[in-house]
């Protein structure tokens, strides 16, 4: 078996060290080595978005990033979105608006939606649809997801005001 590389990175604000093979994806490292199974594998080729994480301030599909590339980077996964004080407004909106059914795509949608609302507090419906087109959902038809993101945008603006 190939020798392993030591990777030091920051995940959800905490320093994490792990050993991985060069061929292992960041998704595989998060799930199988670090034990953060909230990011999901739906396709392993970057087309479903279920493994979406924040990677040094931009969203990536973690199945298309190698684990060794995480060295020195700041990563936020679905496990880092809520705080001890409670759920993030996007998570709360997803619950109140029934924006999930099976829930397998939900972590990716929430991470992607947070990235959008962090930089654009009041996106149009079309902007939301365009931004989330990288994330596949087969259960909801997207209607309630788009509405939940609109709802979260409103509650986040109210919190800021």
């Amino acid at each position: 078996m190939p020798s392993k590389t030591h990777v030091q990175t920051t995940i959800n604000g905490e320093q994490v060290d792990f050993l991985c093979e060069p061929r292992q994806s960041l998704l595989e490292c998060l799930r199988d080595i670090v034990g953060l199974t909230g990011s999901k594998e739906g396709c392993n080729d970057g087309n479903c978005g279920a493994c979406t994480v924040m990677f040094d301030g931009r969203i990536v599909t973690s199945c298309l990033v190698l684990g060794v590339e995480a060295e020195g980077k700041e990563i936020t996964t679905i496990e880092g979105i809520a705080s001890p004080a409670g759920l993030h407004p996007i998570q709360q909106a997803f619950l109140e608006d029934a924006a999930l059914q099976c829930g397998i795509c939900t972590p990716g949608f929430i991470v992607a939606a947070k990235a959008l609302l962090d930089q654009e507090p009041d996106p149009s419906e079309q902007r939301i649809r365009g931004w989330l087109a990288n994330n596949l959902c087969r259960c909801t038809g997207y209607d309630k997801i788009v509405r939940a993101v609109q709802h979260a945008a409103t509650s986040m603006q109210e919190t800021r005001a």
């Binding site: 078996m1 093979e21 061929r23 292992q24 799930r31 034990g35 953060l36 199974t37 909230g38 990011s39 999901k40 594998e41 739906g42 396709c43 392993n44 080729d45 087309n47 479903c48 279920a50 996964t77 679905i78 496990e79 979105i81 809520a82 759920l87 998570q91 997803f94 619950l95 109140e96 608006d97 029934a98 999930l100 059914q101 099976c102 829930g103 397998i104 795509c105 939900t106 972590p107 929430i110 419906e125 079309q126 939301i128 649809r129 365009g130 989330l132 087109a133 994330n135 596949l136 959902c137 087969r138 259960c139 909801t140 038809g141 997207y142 209607d143 309630k144 997801i145 788009v146 509405r147």
Partner: protein, 763 residues
Amino acid sequence: MTTTEYEPNIVLSTTEYDVVGTRPIRPDGADKVTGRALYGADVNPTGLIHGKILRSPHAHARIKSIDTSKAEAHPGVLAVVTAEDLPGTKLGGTVDYGEGKQDLAYLRGNVMAGDKVLYAGHAVAGVAAANPHVAEEALGLIEVEYELLPPVLKAPDSMGGGAPVLLEHLRTEELGERTDRAGNIATHFRHTLGDLEEGFKDADVVVEREFNTQTVHQGYIEPQNVTALWNNDGRLHIWTSSQGPFEVRGAVASALDIPVSQVKVTPMEIGGGFGGKFPLYHDPIAALLSKKSGHPVKIVMTRKEVFEGTGPTPGSNMKIKMGATSNGKITAAHAYLAFEAGAFPGSPVGAAAMCVFAPYDISNAVIDGYDVLVNKPKSAAYRAPGATQAAFAAETVVDELAGKLGIDPIEFRLMNAAKEGARRADGVVHPRIGLVETLVALRDHPHWKAPLEGPNRGRGVAVGYWVNGSGPSACTISVNADGTINLTEGSADIGGTRASVSMQAAEVLGIRAEDVRPTVTDTDNIGYTSGTGGSSVTFKTGRTAHDAAQNVKEQMIARAATIWEISPDTVELDKGVFHSRTDPELKMTFSELAEQLNDTGGPIMGRSAFSPTGVGAAYAGCIADVEVDPDTGKVDVLRFTIAQDAGKAIHPSYVEGQMQGGAVQGIGWGLNEEYFYNTAGELTNGSFLDYRMPTSLDLPMIDTVIVEVPNPGHPFGVRGVGEVNIVPPPPALANAIHAAVGVRMYQLPMNPAAVMEALRQQK
């Protein structure tokens, strides 16, 4: 794309309750928005190793030899299995795996190929190794010698003489009788009602068309997965995300020839199924690898394996002939339905036959159904299996009839709508159904009356029917000292059924939905519960939850009577308060009584376990506005409204979600999705990129109307809501395309190439 104004979602409620019909947050919600919910691939028992499956690259070939010695010698490999490791079997015994029965020989033959591979993607061997990469390396070291055979990929090609035969021992079942005819037609059946010839004589207008649809996939985002531990005590523990944990237990036990009591299945959270997560695939392989290696073995399919190695829903060749009088009465209908079963018998053509003319009261009808083998994966259920293909054909012909007669398409459907007492062509008499109410809801919706201006734009309408299902179910409830209850059920929760089941128990006991803690448990800890399919869970497990709550209520009333030293006949539970009918001073809330249980005789548990009857069938209809690009053939959906009879919506948000999700799957099926095979029978678009399901950017909002015509067979009037919504979108889109550009579409998908070809032929 144009974004229109949206109508608010509508609920046409007929009966109000305290909990039923409200929209509480789902009990499993927090886990699912924080990444804490554990799905099948998240299982990690101690000592876990990983399995991979070697699959046939050929659509049809004889296996001359398999040499696994190099793979077994590869460093890190712990076990290798082939079909030789499965128990041998002869044709004859059947296995119920949920949404269908299958011959045990075929079940095992699909798990791993024996002497022949029957489709590209057919499993041939399994390898377990320390990690998935090593297992994958080892797959490349297995040497399989194939003798290639010609494949056959379409039902019409497969039915004729001279087609390559898939299963040498198969004999056609013809009108209920086994024949000695070899070939690829597994079954031909016929339903007859009235006198078809006389019916067509009475018709002033007759339309006859031929339709073809392609193989499509359910497209759940979570790939199939299994973790198996064959323990040293002989017990086999399976963790999997399946629609039917008990069906998995039964099928695994049958495939491995061990008693069901030796198998425990723990249902993990499931990332979508839509019918596709019933059949058995790699579970016995993981079990055999575990037995050989002594480790728990996890297998997670790649997306390519999901497309190639699991059951999609079949392509079809259909001919529909319908006749009507000049004043709009449908007098006769004939359907010819040939469905691709895939590599083994068992397409949903039987269900298609139940549904094809079910929206209409037709006195004279004949339906011929054919189940046909082709060199594609064994087909599986997909949301109202068979009904969507059938409705695409029948509803296109109905629309053409209405057009020829100059009758509004909703009025034409209303004039012929099936009502209580009407007979389906397959003999079943409709109980109380809500088709008329659903059509009226569409007719009265602002969308139907809204102007649609601009070139190349059109509006279409269609309806669909689904039978819905039930089955054995079990539920237990225990009362907590703080007045909450724990509810245990065996129904895998794919889309919010913990909520819809819990709410029915809460309604009975007069407590809040939030006071119910539901658990979906494993096969060791609840009575047999048939799988999450046929839109059955809110009906059947809702019913056992209702009855278990009634059982709790009776015991609580008895306990209150004991404490008060009065007769239980005089105690009532009303909105969560126990009170005496004879002494107004005697009152206790549910939680006040719950707190006293341990000191007044002990804990209280309720239970219910049976097979609820009284299933209510479902109708849905939709209105679609499209714009066709005449230069590219691309169809954009401008606006979409769906109405559906829910009987009673327990949690309206999740009913709307089913309607919207089903509608969008129907839109994807209608406009774009298909398995694309080359002539060698290799799937050439086995990825999400190339299969191309709808994204958020392809769609408008999906406006909903929940119609409530209560099902008399359920205490709250529930009909199943999960499936029928996928049925009407493809024909509604076809009818909208006709309204937009004047061409009729007789094939799915109606992708740009198909629409351009239709426009070219029009010129």
